[in-house]
Amino acid sequence: MRLPKDARWLQIAFLASFLTLGLTARDFPLWHAPLIFAACLGTQLACEKLLKLKPAGLLSPLITSFGLTLLLRAGVWWVPVVAGVLAIGSKFVLRIRGRHFFNPANFGLCCVMLLTPRAWCSPTQWGEGAILLLWILALGCAVAHRAFRSDVSLAFLGSWILLRAARVLYLGQRAPVLIHQLAQGSLLLFTFFMISDPKTTPRDRASRIGFAAIVACVAFELQLRFVQNPIVWALFICAPLTPLFDLLTEEKAPCALPQSLLSPSP
């Protein structure tokens, strides 16, 4: 079987199956999906037109839309709209040295959760059995296809599992506790579709791995403080480190810089 040339198609296919699985689980809302997709795609097109940029295609805002649909829950209709607009808008507005640094879906999600208590994230809505299957599928894809084989994903996952395992051991808990903690849909989405975004992680490989480890440590600390959705918040907090890493490693890799200066899309 031939796989599509643009790896993002594979990601979209995976996210779509994730969404389908969610729909078969009980209580998975879908009313907000059209609003998110319309807001994301509309904002992308509007920003390109306003800033007179060459159209970068809609695959990237589609991935953002899927991410938000899967993670964001809302009690009022305007929350998904605002989340979509902020997510895509951040790519065009919040830029340092020609590069955006917030993962769009992460930015949209965190902003609306900060704005109103009517926005939240339900990390366990898929149920555990289904998520274990998806982990296997995602890791299988990681072996088989480069779209999933991101060093930052694996570095984050490794660090996170290590930290969680250490905690479980320290507390004298059993192995099923660790497995239970890893069977969260939001962790899977975050690992393969959020922190893996090459546009919002440092360019230098060692920096990317360091960045992933820092995100895992911050998330771990937040979890110890009983913050809900710690990994999502950790990426939001750590996002400004990306331009900092890039600045520090710029001299090492001067050629990599101009590549995305003119490209505002992720």
Binding site: G75, T116, P117, R118, S122, Q125, G172, P176
Partner: protein, 437 residues
């Protein structure tokens, strides 16, 4: 087809569902298996402020009752209270899954307008510490001791689980095997232990036959219930009803899937006499269908109103007794800043390896476990519409039987036997039978 709702009957269910131990474990001072038959807990929470009301239906000898609950801090005397049993009973009656019934109108009668009035609602309520030196030697510190109502309460901190287990044993509590393993994670998290037993003298003085719920108030960023301890002496899944009372919206678990019970479905009439059995089976099936890992939501509503009301909403004074501290003034004819979420947790060691963690969501929608009976018109029908009505009735009964089977897993023979004469005929008329009539 016209349906006029005339009477809605609400049946609360806690008596129907087997329930045993609350988040702490109940231990005996003498041999003999002890279980607390049902456990209900109310958590009032806003910000970090938390008030927990722990109810139980302890059936054994009062001297054998003991409760061990990990708490985040040492509680002062004022943070502990003994509440009234009726508070949890009221919450139960208000939020329990309900059976509502409607009566079909006469298909031959002509109604001037379609009246959809809600009928009368009626609810059926369901159902001596060892010396301090020894404690010190075991690495256990008795942080505080109080007598509150009919309970003697000790707050302990411990360095190691073995020491705590030994202290509890020395103090006469019959600790289940592996208790220290269950205690260890709480000690590592610097949690304290709230240990209560019945002060027989005070209990007799109080005049109460059954034990009243213990209430504790504290501030903590943890929004959780420690269920792991309760598994230490369990020989199977245990049930717990959690009433979460929050300001903004529905509460769900943040580490276990939380789903709503299947609801708003029409069932055969005979379910009226077997509602308890029906709900037990429906709950068990829903729980099994979600891999036994999920928590079932049975009710979510703003406490300012209900529709239909299985029992009147709690009065502000009752809410205050439960620990709701943020209500000011009075609320009439609409919502109040208070959402009640009723969660039914059936847990065992295998499927619930971690304590329950919760989060308050921004969901202000309403939900109730509501099951509908539609009684057919049984009077004399002479008009032409009667034929259609009978046919429609047969189709409806067929659907109701299918719904009941899918919800409970009961086999069709059992359902048809329950339906008796109302059971749908085996073979419906073929589609062409009335084609040229």
């Amino acid at each position: 087809m016209r349906t006029a709702p005339i009477l809605a009957l609400a049946v609360a269910l806690s008596a129907a569902s087997p329930a045993r131990a609350f988040c702490g474990f109940f231990v005996g001072k003498a041999d003999g298996k002890l279980f607390n038959k049902s456990s209900q807990v109310a958590i009032v929470r806003d910000g970090d402020r938390t008030v927990i009301t722990m109810g139980n239906d302890f059936q054994g000898e009062m001297t054998e009752f003991a409760l061990v609950v990990p708490v985040p801090t040492v509680l002062s005397r004022e943070q502990i209270h003994v509440g009234e049993r009726k508070l949890l009973e009221r919450l139960d009656a208000y939020s329990a899954p309900r059976l509502v019934e409607y009566h079909d109108g006469d298909p031959c009668a002509v109604y001037p307008y379609a009246a959809m009035k809600m009928g009368v609602m009626r609810s059926m309520p369901v159902a001596a510490s060892p010396p301090k030196e020894m404690a010190k030697a075991l690495g256990v510190t008795v942080e505080a001791e109080y007598t509150v109502g009919e309970y003697d309460i000790v707050l302990l901190s411990a360095n190691q689980s073995d020491g705590l287990e030994a202290w509890l044993r020395e103090s006469g509590y019959k600790i289940p095997a592996h208790a220290s393993k269950a205690l260890a994670p709480y000690i590592r998290q610097q949690m304290k232990f709230f240990v209560a037993k019945v002060n027989i003298k005070e209990q007799r003085k109080s005049g109460y036959q059954a034990l009243r719920p213990i209430q504790i108030a504290f501030e903590s960023p943890r929004f959780m219930l420690p269920i792991r301890l309760g598994m230490a002496n369990a020989d199977g899944p245990q049930d717990m009803i959690v009433y979460a009372i929050t300001r903004n919206g529905r509460v769900e678990s943040s580490n276990y899937q939380t789903v709503k019970m299947p609801s708003d479905v029409e069932l055969p009439e005979f379910v009226q006499h077997q509602f308890g059995n029906f709900y037990k089976s429906a709950f068990a099936k829903a729980w099994n269908d979600h891999g036994r890992h999920a928590i079932l939501t049975e009710y979510v509503w703003n406490m300012g109103f209900c529709d239909p009301c299985a029992a009147p909403p709690l009065e502000q004074e009752e809410l205050k007794q439960l620990g709701v501290f943020w209500l000011e003034g009075s609320y009439h004819g609409g919502g109040m800043p208070l959402t009640l979420t009723r969660l039914h947790v059936r847990y065992d060691a295998e499927h619930f390896p971690e304590d329950l963690a919760f989060q308050e969501t921004g969901d202000q929608g309403t939900f109730q476990g509501r099951y509908i009976l539609r009684h057919p018109f049984r009077g004399e029908m002479t008009c032409a519409a009667a034929g259609n009505y009978r046919q429609e009735l047969d189709r409806r009964r067929r659907e109701e039987a299918k719904t009941l089977a899918s919800l409970t897993g009961w086999d069709m023979a059992r359902i048809h036997a329950g339906m008796g004469r109302d059971a749908p005929v085996d073979q419906p008329d073929p589609w062409w039978k009335k084609l040229w009539q």
